[in-house]
């Protein structure tokens, strides 16, 4: 840690923060010398009865999830792994959440505390290790999804959840519009939903909970059980499903869940009950972004493709002003992951 601090303090060049390197594909641009944080790893504390785990940010997700699994617990936001080396810090910096997100919460929802090194190498500790804590501004959650532009994440405390007793994935043949309607209607009923997706005429629904609850919900909803449900969601979560292969640019569309089917060129996969849609397309950003903005959503060029169109949805000028001020506050010299989120950021 001291070495990291020293490196930040003394550098005159931008630094590119990296642990496992599995998310090098993500973000606007990769500038600067690599600041390798992968050695800063290890679980600091974990007590199942507290529902809280604290780990250094270079810790691989796999290590954390294996330990939680041994105690019948899990990360409630079901983070994707884009390789075996995916780290906690990278996941939180990107703010990535998986299939369970609309039903249990996002990465930032589970963050309780964060320790960072700011752009001057100063070690700052925000939040804590308790589930309820409203002392001070919520800088821990501000860091989540900030792509390392406000500080090097060094340690995080997360709330964890008990694993459900049983899970069952159901399949229903239906068209896109009907699937969107059902996903939203069912989310408004007391059903043990934990994931939903639609692709090529099939709606996939995962139920999680007590054995009887899952059985009863299946009886209510109908649908065909999927024989390899666990694997299905893992492939979807980690972008290993067939949909994600190929050379076309991959867009992530985030929008209100009820938005009717989007008429855009290319093929689509719907996740998060309709609130997240993946698009493989050659369509131009200038076609995609206005459609999303009109629905109250935003579009990210997630992987592959020409990044000069802007990876992230542009912000209104007034909001950008506050982003720039926060960046200047935490990284006055503009050296941390410069250009990764927005140009010159």
């Amino acid at each position: 840690m001291q070495a990291l601090q020293e490196r930040i303090r003394t550098t005159h060049l931008p630094l590119r923060i990296r642990a496992g390197g599995t998310k090098d594909f993500y973000g606007q641009s990769l500038a600067g010398d690599i600041l390798d944080v992968s050695a800063h790893r290890g679980i600091v504390s974990y007590e199942p009865g507290e529902l809280v785990i604290t780990a250094k940010c270079g810790t691989p997700l796999a290590e954390i999830e294996t330990l939680l699994d041994e105690h019948g617990q899990m990360l409630g936001f079901e983070p994707p792994r884009f390789g075996a080396a995916s780290s906690l810090g990278g996941t939180l910096a990107c703010g990535f959440s998986g299939p369970r997100r609309p039903y249990s919460g996002s990465a930032r929802d589970f963050v309780l505390g964060m320790e960072i090194l700011d752009g001057t190498g100063q070690h700052l500790k925000f939040g804590g290790r308790v589930i309820k804590n409203v002392a001070g501004y919520d800088a821990s959650r501000l860091m989540t999804g900030a792509l390392g532009t406000l500080g090097v994440l060094v340690q995080a405390s997360l709330k964890v959840l008990p694993k459900p007793q049983s899970e069952l994935t159901l399949q229903f043949e239906m068209d896109e519009a009907t699937a969107l309607k059902h996903m939203n209607e069912w989310a408004g009923r007391p059903l043990p939903l934990s994931a939903s997706a639609w692709q090529s005429g099939v709606l996939f629904l995962r139920l999680s909970g007590a054995n009887n609850a899952v059985r009863e919900a299946h009886a209510k909803l109908g649908g065909e059980p999927h024989l390899h449900g666990t694997e299905f969601w893992r492939l979807l979560r980690d972008h290993e499903a067939a949909f994600f292969s190929g050379d076309l640019p991959l867009w992530r569309l985030s929008l209100p869940a009820c938005t009717p089917p989007l008429d855009l060129d290319g093929k689509q996969l719907i996740t998060w009950g309709g609130a997240e849609r993946w698009l493989k397309t050659n369509a131009a950003a200038t076609e995609i972004r206005p459609r999303l903005a009109a629905s109250g959503g935003h579009a990210t060029l997630f992987a592959v493709g020409e990044k000069s169109v802007g990876v992230f949805h542009p912000l209104p000028a007034a909001l950008m002003k506050y982003h720039a001020r926060l960046k200047k506050l935490f990284d006055p010299r503009g050296i941390l992951n410069r250009g990764r989120l927005y140009p010159d950021f």
Partner: protein, 484 residues
């Protein structure tokens, strides 16, 4: 004192019924829910339109006049305490529910809408708004956003920050910002999290979109009694590590049980040292399974009495005692002072033991109600404000409790906010570097420091003074404990 010129200009912005100036009119606004602190405001503005709010903000910016925002005034940390020379701006007239979309499960509301009113309006669709602070009948959603309010169901359903989708705010620069969206995320930094719980220091909220959840099919409450507080604390950990995530998990100690029973006849066992209330919710089948598991765990944890509510009436009765615990304890003494520390649950026995010792040292009784599931303590210190020196004693006792929470790896406030009340304890929880970062965040939004000045984040100077006073003869309190 505010200048007559500013009053005149406010009179030009607001119709007479929206501006209170006379002593007898402004007096009721001298305090919020923390009545130990009070200060008569110079002027109270009760705007009815967003244009009026914008004009007031512009006036205050131009004349460098501070503003204190206020909702229903139910906050219990002095966040809405008037500041000398400031305009007290109450948002309570913005009380309209703008829309409820049952399919999207979203309610768009103005900041002055009462928390409970949202759930009432959503009830015909079998939906509700989850955070339920005990003041929910009166407190406003705008205040909830400012304080990041919680309630008894936080362990499973989260705080305000987990249950809102977007806010439209006005900055001191007069800019309207939409932060967050009705999608599940928004581009850029998570300013929604930053603004939630910012105690009216960064911006004023004009509109809020909240998430609505389906009402659980069924809820069930189990009451368990213990002959030792420690056993009750251990049972809480056992339930959670046993794989059950209760909707509510509350604990009360002997003094609180006695007071609650005398007040609301909930049928609590009076011979118990502690009781637990465990609420589970979900589908019919889920609840049945969870209740069985909870009962087994409670039995294995040494509960002396375990009761499952027979019907809804008995569930209500079990809860009635807990919900009335504050007024019930209020009958034991002329005044009580409610604290709001959080601790890792495993620290509970040590914290309760030390609290009992402190109670003896200060000669002030303390009753404990505890959101045990999420480690949120609400010790109620009993005192008599009419006895000279008693309030000061209660305040010092409270400060000791909060600092003990920090020493155990917890926090000085779980859901009430810092306000003016816990501003000195912020110096204990955070170092100078973090406090400076907080001041920096404040300056990003409010460079002139006009919004709710003097609240939530102490000056480093104040901390230096507090530290000098507090580190008695070079010894930190609780030196035996590891510091986090």
């Amino acid at each position: 004192m505010i200048s007559p010129d500013i009053i005149r200009r406010l009179q030009a912005i607001l119709p007479p019924h929206c501006l209170l100036i006379a002593q007898e009119d402004v007096k009721p606004f001298e305090t919020d829910g923390l009545t130990a602190f009070h200060s008569t405001p110079d002027v109270v503005a009760l705007p009815e339109t967003e244009d009026q709010v914008k004009a007031i903000i512009a006036l205050c910016r131009e004349t460098q006049t501070p503003i204190v925002f206020r909702g229903a005034g139910t906050g219990v940390s002095g966040g809405a305490l008037p500041v000398d020379g400031a305009v007290l701006l109450a948002m309570t007239k913005f009380n309209r529910i703008l829309s409820i979309d049952p399919l999207a499960r979203i309610a768009r509301v103005q900041p002055g809408v009462r928390n409970l009113a949202i759930s009432e309006a959503a009830a015909p669709f079998s939906l509700y708004y989850a955070p339920d602070p005990s003041s929910q009948i009166a407190c406003t959603i705008g205040g909830n956003v400012a304080e990041n309010s919680g309630g008894v169901h936080c362990l499973k359903y989260g705080l305000t920050v987990h249950n809102i989708l977007s806010v439209r705010v006005l900055t001191i620069d007069g800019e309207e910002l939409v932060i967050g969206s009705e999608a599940l995320d928004a581009p850029g930094y998570d300013l929604l999290a930053l603004l939630t719980g910012s105690e009216g220091m960064l911006a004023v909220t004009l509109e809020i979109s909240v998430k609505l959840l389906p009402k659980p099919e069924r809820t069930q409450v189990v009451l368990a009694a213990f002959d030792e507080v420690e056993k009750g604390g251990a049972a809480v950990g056992a339930i959670i590590s046993g794989g059950v995530l209760p909707a509510g998990l509350e604990m009360m100690d002997k003094l609180a049980i006695e007071a609650a029973e005398a007040y609301s006849h909930a049928g609590y066992p009076l011979d118990a040292e502690a009781i637990l209330l465990v609420e589970v919710d979900g589908t019919q089948e889920e609840v049945s399974e969870d209740v069985m598991r909870v009962r087994e765990i409670l039995l294995a944890s040494g509960a002396t009495d375990i009761r499952t509510a027979k019907d809804e009436a008995e569930q209500k009765k079990f809860w009635a005692g807990r919900k009335a615990a504050f007024p019930a304890v209020g009958r034991l003494a002329p005044d009580y002072y409610c604290m709001d520390g959080t601790i890792p649950r495993k620290a509970l026995p040590a914290v309760l033991k030390r609290m009992a010792e402190l109670s003896t040292e200060y000669a002030l009784p303390v009753a404990n109600v505890f959101h045990a599931g999420d480690g949120n303590l609400h010790p109620l210190i009993l005192y008599d404000a009419n006895q000279p020196g008693e309030w000061e004693k209660a305040e010092r006792f409270g400060a000791d409790i909060l600092e003990m929470c920090v020493a155990h790896g917890g926090s000085i406030t779980g859901e009430h906010g810092v306000g003016i009340e816990k501003i000195s304890q912020m110096c204990v929880q955070f170092g100078n570097a973090e406090l400076q970062a907080f001041h920096g965040i404040k300056a990003c939004f409010d460079p002139d420091g006009l919004l709710n000045p003097g609240k939530a984040v102490p000056t480093l100077h104040r901390c230096a003074e507090y530290g000098a006073m507090h580190v008695r003869s070079g010894n930190l309190p609780f030196p035996e404990l590891p510091r986090f």
